[in-house]
Amino acid sequence: MSLMEILLIIIPSTLLWAAPLIFTGLGGNFSERAGVVNIGLEGLMVIGAFTAIVFNLQFDSVLGDATPWVALLAAMVAGAIFSILHAVASITFRADQTVSGVAINLLSIGLALFLVKLIYGKGQTDIIQKSFSKIDIPILSDIPVIGDLFFSNTYYTSYVAIFVAIIVWVIMFKTPFGLRLRAVGEHPMAADTMGINVTRMRYIAVILSGALGGIGGGVYAQAISSDFGHATISGQGFMALAALIFGKWNPLGVMGAALFFGFAQSLSIIGKSLPFLENIPSVYLLIAPYVLTILALTGFIGRADAPKASGVPYIKGKR
């Protein structure tokens, strides 16, 4: 296999892998930057995946090729609504944010499976017909070499994810809203004295994280699994959380970390076909992504500092 052929497989699959993680990781970024730990990302992805699939199955005859995109919007709305539960519990009622996040995870998978049984009378849905499919991006894919590598045999959602990551970075670091969001997560009392409504900012952040988590789940379900069952979302939300920490709570870092995870996974799969790796027992290749991640986390990125007020409920007037 030549280098070109290897890259032709690795790059598209890296992008495919990374897309759901980028969306969900960005969601976590909003919430944690505002000082609310969101361990419920997994659950929000479940809700997103479930909503996207059900919506897709119901409306594909009406909406035609636009179905997956509209379903993604539905997943976004569902994720946002669901995350309000987390916001109410952890912001208004100041519950432990980790406990509330875990509750979201448990509740979402239970609820989604229950509804699947109720609607379809079986344990998993049928596969969707209108999914995100492989495309060559017009014009860009005609560029020699680069077009083949980056813009052929890929999915639009991957590019949307990268684009959204850049937008989130701009919002978070270049706008007044972003500054307030970060202030609320670093030192809520100082923000409060400056007239920022801490509760409102945190609500917005958690709901945004729900929306993005829902999109992440919707992307995964419609670009990869194509149906919804109990194992559709199994750990991707936690991977996104890891990408968030790995990316040091920076949107572009999150994107880079998600792409790195995707790259490591693709490499572990293609490794078996590479001339210099083919004699390595496959188990080493399978664990390689995780080993690489641990190495990267411990050795290369240095200290990962969480936003200071992350995980601490804000109580007005309390020192």
């Binding site: 296999m1 052929e5 497989i9 598209p12 699959s13 495919l16 892998w17 539960l85 109410v88 519990a89 952890s90 208004t92 009622f93 100041r94 519950a95 432990d96 406990v99 509330s100 509750a103 979201i104 448990l106 509740l107 239970g110 609820l111 499976l113 229950f114 049984k117 009378g121 079986k122 344990g123 998993q124 049928d126 596969i127 017909q129 999914s131 499919s133 492989k134 495309i135 060559d136 045999n153 995964y220 990869i224 699994s225 194509s226 149906d227 069952g229 109990h230 194992a231 559709t232 199994s234 996974q265 693709s266 799969i269 293609i270 078996k272 076909s273 496959s282 188990v283 399978l286 409920p313």
Partner: protein, 367 residues
């Protein structure tokens, strides 16, 4: 302070809601059987049988569903009704439920209790040693207890037939195999498939790769992408949910370039529905066929034996082509070589049934 307590209460309510929600329908199932033992059954001689599903549930389009269909078929043939006097099932929500459910059914006096799937091996072992008066059966695993019948399948025979279909369909003479985890069951699939391919086209190269998981569709998709782009035109999977990624990739590629061949072969149950792809208004299907594992036939057969008093306790029964424990689903009409494949499959099936060919069980035995 008060607010904080409210928060905790809300979190607790959410959690409790989830756990209770998950019980849902099973409640009624469980209560149907839990009548006090004082009630003297009118049909004491009637044979009763029940099964415990693994976490997949009774409608998982796979194993558990197939087993339940087997019980239903057995019930309707012998005139039993669903419930305590006939046949029933309990669904497991987590690994922790296996022992409880098995115990529960044994105490309710079912003559035979099935544990479906190798995940239940330990649970069946434990419960069988406690409830020595009841008979148990386990699918896809071996439990060495005098009151347990173990049911195994000759997956290699189904995979062998799938291999024949794959080899005859392939035009590029490159074929792929995606395995879930490297466990004996999947190795049987691999060995049988390789042997089947070799039986009709000895010089074909089969690219074998294991994903390391049964529930990671994205792994299946990446592996399939790699195999298809390196020239394979038929891929067989024995990887459960990971195989969904294979179907997704095959559908996507077919949609992108309908003139080329991207075939897939399903496993366990007839997966034809997973392969439908709509290209410009016409429906295509990328699935050639599926290697079937007839858990239903095995469950039915074992129940019938037990009802006749010939319960094979302490033994491991293996169901192959002869016992109709495995098989091959109908061939896709769109495959050019359909008639040829069907003829060859019949030919080799006869040879396997007659014992002329023994399909290898291990990778190292494939020549």
């Amino acid at each position: 302070m008060n607010k904080r307590k409210m928060g905790l209460a809300l979190s607790l309510a959410l959690t409790a809601g989830t756990i209770l929600g998950a019980c849902g329908k099973e409640d009624e199932k469980e209560t149907t059987g839990e009548k006090p033992e004082t009630e003297t059954p009118a049909t004491e001689e009637a044979f009763t049988v029940a099964m415990v599903t693994d976490v997949g549930g009774v409608d998982d389009k796979s194993f558990n569903q197939s087993a339940w269909e087997g019980l239903q078929a057995f019930g309707s043939e012998t005139g039993l009704s669903e419930g305590k006097e006939g046949y029933s099932y309990l669904q497991s929500q987590s690994d922790a439920d296996y022992e409880t459910n098995l115990n529960n059914l044994a105490r309710q006096g079912y003559d035979l209790v099935f544990g479906i799937g190798f995940l239940m091996q330990d649970a069946v072992n434990t419960v069988a040693s406690q409830q020595t008066g009841s008979n148990f059966a386990i699918i896809d695993a071996v439990v060495e207890q005098p009151n347990v019948a173990s049911v195994l399948f000759k997956e290699q025979e189904a995979a062998y037939l799938a291999g024949i279909a794959a080899a005859l369909t392939s035009e590029s003479n490159k074929i792929g195999f995606i395995g879930g985890m490297e466990i004996p069951v999947i190795e049987r699939f691999e060995a049988g498939f390789l042997a089947g391919v070799k039986a009709v086209k000895p010089d074909i190269k089969v690219d074998v790769q294991y994903a390391g998981a049964f529930d990671k569709a994205e792994l299946g998709q990446t592996i399939a992408s790699k195999m298809y782009s390196s020239g394979a035109d038929v891929i067989f999977h024995a990887a459960g949910g990971t195989g969904n990624g294979l179907f997704k990739e095959a559908r996507d590629l077919k949609k992108k370039d309908p003139s080329k061949n991207y075939w897939a072969i399903g496993v366990d149950s007839d997966q034809t529905a997973e392969g439908i792809v709509d290209i410009g208004g016409t429906e295509h299907n990328v699935i050639i066929t599926s290697a079937l594992k007839r858990v239903d036939n095995a469950v039915k057969d074992l129940s019938a034996k037990a009802a006749k008093g010939e319960f094979p306790g302490g033994q491991a029964s293996t169901y192959g082509l002869v016992e109709e424990g495995v098989g091959l689903a109908p061939i896709n009409d769109a495959v050019a070589a359909k008639a040829d494949i069907e003829a060859k499959v019949e030919e080799f099936k006869a040879k396997i049934v007659s014992g002329e060919i023994t399909v290898p069980e291990f990778r190292k035995d494939v020549k």
